[in-house]
Structure formats: C-alpha cells, structure tokens
C-alpha cells in the first residue's frame, strides 16, 4: 500500500501547505497500513533537493522521489499531472494526495481527468482508508459547510483543505532516500507551462499580515478608506475589505477577504462596517483575535467577534490612530 504525496514548491521554496500535506499524508499512510512517498517535481539545485528531502523526512516520508526532465522548466499543470501519473504507476500507488491550494487542486484535477477517476477536493478527514471505499469529510462553500462523502476508485485521488491540520513533524522519522525519477514527457505536456512571471508585490501580503484593518459597505466610499490605510500602516498591517467594497470599485479585488477572496490569519482582524456574511467570515475566521466595529450590535461580525465597539467607524478608526500616536510620542 503506497500513498504518493505531491509537494508544492515555487522554484524550490516549499510553502507551509506542503508540510501540512506531509502531516496528513503520514496519518493517511498509517491508516492504510502503508508507506508514504513524497514527490517533488522540477529542475532544482542539489542543495534545494536536500533541503526538501530533509523536510519530507522530518514529516514522515519514507522515500522522496525527485521527478525531473528537461521540459520541466517551471510549473505547468499538464506536465506535473503527467509526472504524477507515471510516478504513481512506478511506485504502484493506491492513492495520490496534494494539499488543497490552487496548484494542488489543479494538478489533481488534471490527473483525475487523464485517468478518468474521481477526485475529492478539500477533505478534512478520511475515516476508513483501509477499506476499498473511503469515507471522508470535505469542505463545501469554502469551509462554511461540511459534506460527508464516499469515494470508490481504483486509484484514490484526494486533496486536503489548506489548514485542515497544523503541520507537525512525525514521531520516529527515519532517513528518507532521495531517488531520481525521469518521466517520459513531450511538447504536448508543456502547453500549459508558465511562460513568464511578473513580480508585483513585495513584503507583507494580505495573507501573511500580522494585522488586517478591513472595511465594508459601512465605510461608504473609496476616499473614506484613508483612515483605515493610516491605521494599518501604523500597525505594520494591510487593508482588507468585503465584497460589497470591491463590487463598488472602492478597492481592488486583491484586498478582498473571504470565500472568493483571500483567507487571512492575522494576530488581530479589525473589521469595520462589515456585517459578517458567511462568505466573508470564512475568509476571516482563522484570525487569532477579531475586533468588530459596527453600529449594529446584532451584526454577525459583532456577535462572532472576540471584541466589539458599537459605534460609527468614521469616528472610532481615527481615534485609534490618534491614541497610538499619542502613546508613541508620549
């Protein structure tokens, strides 16, 4: 019984999501009574491979397969899926899994399409991985709702929701062997390969900011975001917003928090003039603390927050900035 786990990386940098994938993979492989093979795809320096292998081993992989080919110049879902298909064959995998981020889900969908097998995206738990038919719980509505499902397939293809478990090193991890694997690829697999990259933002992003100061419809206009910008800057954070705001064209969509926006996890989320619709909440709920500023004490954002101020945001937000300045100067 072999479980093949895809490790995401961007030019050799492994996101936390890959450590999560390994953590879940280790559990799943144990449940299946089998072995976990981790796959890393692409042309990477030896040093990077060693780092990845060390991580993979720490999180419980018995074997690391480095998949490489001249045509693997960057990420491409077709090529990555084809690599996984051939590798799954080579290691005689019973199941293949990835973490449910954009790339993980995309590659798994390509693999599923190619094999004409089902693919269950964004699972949170699999209960009986030793049976022919698996039972699992998965995310619907971006995590606002759960679905119990079953999966019957020759090769089980699943992804696990990002943040479904915290990454945890495996107990008693032994040295993992790195073995090279050269797939057979041709030009038909590189049609969807990244051709170019443009770099835009640097530094703290919405998904990594320690403080997010968000505004909703209650802010009232694009200009009225200036005091929120100021507060965010004083706290080394970023400005976020609700969909009502992006829909009005007051802020770019890259600022939107929620199901179809960004998932955030700051130390504190300051949500002002936001009612807290479920699709917004699901993007904000991983915040360590939430402070809602709203005129409506019954607003969902208020009743679900750790702290609230029931008042006009246009008065409260500038007052917070003024108080911060007063303390810093004083």
């Amino acid at each position: 019984m072999t479980l093949l786990v895809l490790l995401d990386h961007d030019n050799g940098v492994m996101p936390e999501a890959s450590r999560e994938a390994l953590t879940i993979g280790r559990q799943l492989a144990d449940d299946m009574g089998g072995e976990m093979v981790a796959a890393v795809i692409g042309a990477l320096d030896d040093g990077v491979i060693d780092d990845v292998a060390e991580e993979a081993q720490k999180f419980g992989a018995e074997t690391v397969r480095h998949v490489n080919h001249d045509l693997l110049t960057d990420y491409g879902p077709d090529a990555w899926a084809e690599c996984l298909r051939q590798l799954a064959d080579d290691v005689d995998a019973e199941a293949v899994m990835a973490v449910g981020n954009d790339r993980g889900n995309e590659v798994m969908a390509f693999l599923a399409a190619r094999l004409d097998q089902p693919f269950v995206a964004n699972c949170t738990t699999v209960t009986d991985a030793d049976d022919d038919e698996w039972s699992m719980t998965r995310l619907q509505w971006g995590g606002s709702l759960l679905e119990d499902a079953t999966l019957s397939a020759d090769l089980k293809l699943v992804s696990f929701g990002h943040h479904a478990v915290p990454a945890e090193p495996a107990a008693g991890a032994a040295d993992a062997d790195v073995e090279e694997f050269e797939p057979e690829l041709d030009d038909s697999h590189t049609i969807t390969m990244i051709k170019d990259r443009t770099v835009q933002t640097q530094g703290v992003t919405l998904s990594t900011a320690p403080v997010v100061v968000s505004g909703g419809r209650g802010v009232g206009s694009a200009d009225a975001f200036a005091p929120l910008e100021e507060l965010a800057e004083l706290l080394g954070g970023r400005v976020g917003c609700s969909r009502a705001v992006t829909n009005n064209g007051w802020r770019p969509h890259s600022d939107q928090v929620g199901q179809t926006g960004t998932r955030i996890a700051p130390e504190i989320y300051i949500a002002t003039g936001i009612s807290g619709a479920i699709q917004h909440w699901v993007g904000a709920m991983a915040s360590k603390k939430i402070l809602a500023i709203n005129t409506d004490p019954e607003a969902n954002m208020v009743t679900k927050a750790d702290y609230a101020v029931i008042a006009d945001l246009h008065k409260v937000v500038p007052a917070i900035s003024a108080e911060i300045r007063r303390r810093r100067e004083g």
């Binding site: 992804s159 969807t192 969509h253």
Partner: protein, 255 residues
C-alpha cells in the same frame, strides 16, 4: 469570436447556511439564488471580449428549470444565447456534471461552430470541486488553466494571467482554449433596464443530456461545529480608543 460560459445556480445564504433535515441540500426556503462571483466575472469577461472584438456569448447551465433565472440574468448583462440542461435539482457529482457539459458543448459546436474560448469559474460556490472545467477541457482536447485574473486574445493564442502572492504567472494557450476565471478579473456590470427587457426576449435553448454517476458520492451535509463566543464590548463611542490600544499592546502588535 464565439465564447461559452458555464455557470451554476446556487443559493445565496446570509449570516449562516442551514441544511435540510435529511442533510441532502441547503435549506433554501428563505433564500435567493445567484451564481458564484467567479462565474459572474467569467460572463462579464466574455461580454467585454466580444464587445471589443465582435462575436457572441453563450451561457450554459446544468441545473433545475429555475436556473433559467441565472441564464436570463446573464442575458441581461449582454449574453446572446442561453442554454439549459434541465435536471431534477439533485446535486450531481463532478464527473457526471463534466460529462454532461462536454456532450452539450459538442452538440452546440456541431450546430453553431467551435467556441474560440470557453470560460468556467475557478470553483463552484457550493460544492467547490475544483475540477469540472479541467475534465471538460481534457475531454475536448483543449488546454486549460485555472485561477485566471487576466485574459488577452491574440490571433492564434490566449494569454492568461494567474495571480499568485508575489505577482502574476503568465500562460500562453493555443486557441481554442479554456480558462477557469477568478473574481477580480473585472468588475461585473449591473443590468440596465434595457438589458433586462431584452433578456426576456432571448430564446432559452433546452438540451437533454445525462451521464452516469462518478465515483464520488455525497452522503450528507452538515455545519461545522461552532464554539459559542462571548464578545467583549469595549465601548459605544470613539472613547473606546484607549481600551482598543490597550488590547493592541497586549496582543503585541504595537511594536
């Protein structure tokens, strides 16, 4: 240019999502319906592309007869053709949905010619399977990339851009191509009165197709556990600023 957009009718819940007693569907007694913001943006993108370069937009949904509402909405913002594959409303698994869409595309193309571009949402709002578009693309033998926030059409290729943390990844897809679109690619327009009136006259094409169930079976829906929270009220005016900054200091985010 011929563009096809695939959209899915979903309920529009507010503060929370309730599930019917048998756990088979979202309780929709008091809810309106909509399509995912991603799909709304796909429709807007298709309309903008054809406004700039000529051509027409077809919108397709697989769903209950009531999904005509979402198709008419798309017509009211500028789509010319609307196609419904009627179902009894029971949720379909992604493999089955993909097969139905593939067959419908083939039948639409044999009547009206190839679609230069097919747009999907990045994921459906409710079931979020992240795969229907990819399966359809594979079955049609066309390239697809997901998560697209920028599209340029050139003579023989589609330049598609995907936003990542640091910027954009750029893909060059030979035409005919398929993209999974993300909200933010554009700002969808609201229907005008004229658009609304015109949409009533658009003829609804109904296509009967079905397919076998796939290997993923839904058993039941349920809400995640919620831990009841006591909200600490820090004040009811700007005088709360002192208490808020105390809190920020306590959380260590003031440094």
């Amino acid at each position: 240019m011929r563009i096809l957009c695939c959209v899915k009718r979903v309920p529009a819940p507010g503060a929370k999502i309730n599930v019917t007693e048998d756990g088979q569907q979202v309780e929709t007694a008091h809810l309106g319906f909509t399509t995912s913001p991603h799909e709304e943006c796909a429709v807007e993108e298709a309309v903008q592309l054809t406004e700039a370069q000529g051509g027409e937009v077809t919108v397709l949904t697989v769903g209950p007869p009531e999904a005509e509402e979402q198709l008419r909405y798309a017509a009211s913002v500028g789509c010319q053709n609307i196609v419904l594959v009627p179902t009894d409303g029971t949720p379909l698994d992604p493999q089955r949905t993909a097969t139905i869409i593939t067959e419908t595309v083939q039948s639409l193309e044999s009547d009206g010619g190839e679609f230069d571009l097919i747009l999907f949402g990045n994921e459906s709002a409710d079931s979020g399977g992240f795969q229907v578009g990819v399966r359809v693309a594979h079955a049609l033998g066309r390239p697809i990339v997901n998560g697209i926030k920028g599209i340029d059409i050139e003579a023989d290729q589609v330049i598609a851009r995907r936003e990542v943390d640091a910027g954009f990844e750029v893909y060059h897809l030979p035409r005919p191509a398929i993209c999974g679109v993300k909200e933010g690619i554009n700002l969808p327009r609201y229907p005008t009165m004229k658009g609304r009136l015109a949409s009533k006259k658009v003829e609804l094409e109904s296509v009967d197709t079905d397919a076998d169930a796939g290997g993923q079976l839904m058993v039941r829906l349920h809400r995640p556990q919620e831990t009841a929270k006591e909200t600490a009220i820090l004040g009811d005016s700007e005088d709360a600023a002192g208490a808020i900054v105390d809190l920020l200091e306590e959380l260590g985010v003031m440094s």
